[in-house]
Symmetry: C2
Subunit: 234 residues, 2 copies
């Protein structure tokens, strides 16, 4: 049987998950494409899988319904309904995001985090929703290989006393090449336009800066990735 009605309860839920608010409320999100559905299954967060055709382990949706659910121009042949799992443990290397807004930057940072062993990402208020379809696409599956903690940074950063926590700011900054590598380190990245918020900056004791030509600046996902590359465990 192929579901063709927009009034179907399952379809109604899938459509609702287009908004950040509903994803948060339902603790569920959607991934598009076979690769991501498989990754979600591996990670154990796949609740239901949907495809355009009737096959084992999948619920079938009509093409029209699938189109309504997905936000891509290309035809998506399968999607997965996944549960949001919040982490409670911290990896040795942490990435902390204070208002990173662009989904492409968020996805790129996830790939770099995983590649360089920053396996837990702490997401502060004002950052973009990591379960946004654009973020998931840009993360290329890295979203299923990382742990996430949503927190008020003003509350959680002071508790990270066993970590060397660095902001990213030229002012009072240590040049990246001179930063001492430690086992437990955390890097705080700020908003694309405004950097780290004033309140968070005030509780950070140390900053890193990347040496570069005068007056230039880097994209936040680039800057964060260069720092993670440099401070990774070999």
């Amino acid at each position: 049987m192929i579901i063709t009605s927009l009034e179907n309860q399952k379809v109604k839920l899938l459509l609702k998950l287009d908004s950040t608010k509903n994803r948060k409320k339902e603790k569920k999100f959607i991934v598009e494409g076979k690769h991501l559905v498989d990754e979600a299954r591996k990670k154990g967060v796949l609740l239901e899988a949907y495809s355009l055709e009737e096959k084992d382990g999948y619920i079938a949706l009509s093409k029209e319904i699938m189109k309504k659910i997905c936000n891509t121009d290309t035809v998506v042949t399968e999607i997965g309904l996944c549960k949001i799992v919040e982490s409670t443990t911290l990896s040795d290397k942490l990435l902390i995001l204070d208002g990173v807004q662009d989904p492409g930057n968020m996805g790129a940072l996830m790939r770099s985090s995983k590649a360089f062993g920053f396996d837990t990402i702490i997401i502060g208020n004002g950052s973009c929703d990591i379960y946004n379809d654009k973020v998931i696409r840009a993360s290329q599956g890295a979203i299923f290989k990382l742990s996430f903690i949503h927190a008020d940074l003003l509350e959680i950063i002071p508790k990270l006393s066993v970590y060397d926590v660095y902001g990213t700011n030229v002012v009072n900054g240590i040049e990246l090449d001179n930063v001492e590598k430690k086992n437990k380190m955390a890097i705080v990245l700020g908003n694309e336009g405004n950097g780290i918020s004033k309140e968070v900056q005030e509780i950070l004791k140390k900053n890193i800066y990347i040496p570069m030509s005068n007056t230039e600046s880097l994209n936040v996902s680039v800057a964060g990735s260069i720092i993670m590359y440099k401070l990774r465990n070999n």
Copy 2:
């Protein structure tokens, strides 16, 4: 006098420049916002400046016309008509792009190129148009501080014999930490999905790879930026 008619010849030209084809034909492009107009003026490529109000050195456009020309949701108060200038000289460090498609990646790479002294970018066929409004926005003005050469990579790369030219590929790759820094170096980056094209890969003698966790991969602007950071002149 404020221009209010879509039939005005200047307005017609500005509207035409929304397409890559017309930008190429007219050798002109548009930048949005005071910051970029000022940068274009500094660089000497500003042909005309337009604003919402009548003032010295500006041609005034009605809000409706300005909206039609710009692609942003926010109100743009001034735009600049700029000429496309193709470079003929090469900097010591070169970035070579073989099919980088995403405007955000292209803009981020420009910022990193400038920041790390890769002052000439060679753009191969199949890369996205650098005069696209999204690229210009993402470049944050770096587009006016770099030189660009559009070329067939199969023709230009063999001519770069005084440069150490590196592809980016794990296969037959040298780990980034072990790459010998030279004065004249060129880095080739490939397409987001497919990497460097087969034809270009065949004429590259050396490759760089970035050490990372198994099975992971990086966003192309991140990978290129890490390499440029590492190989910059100090």
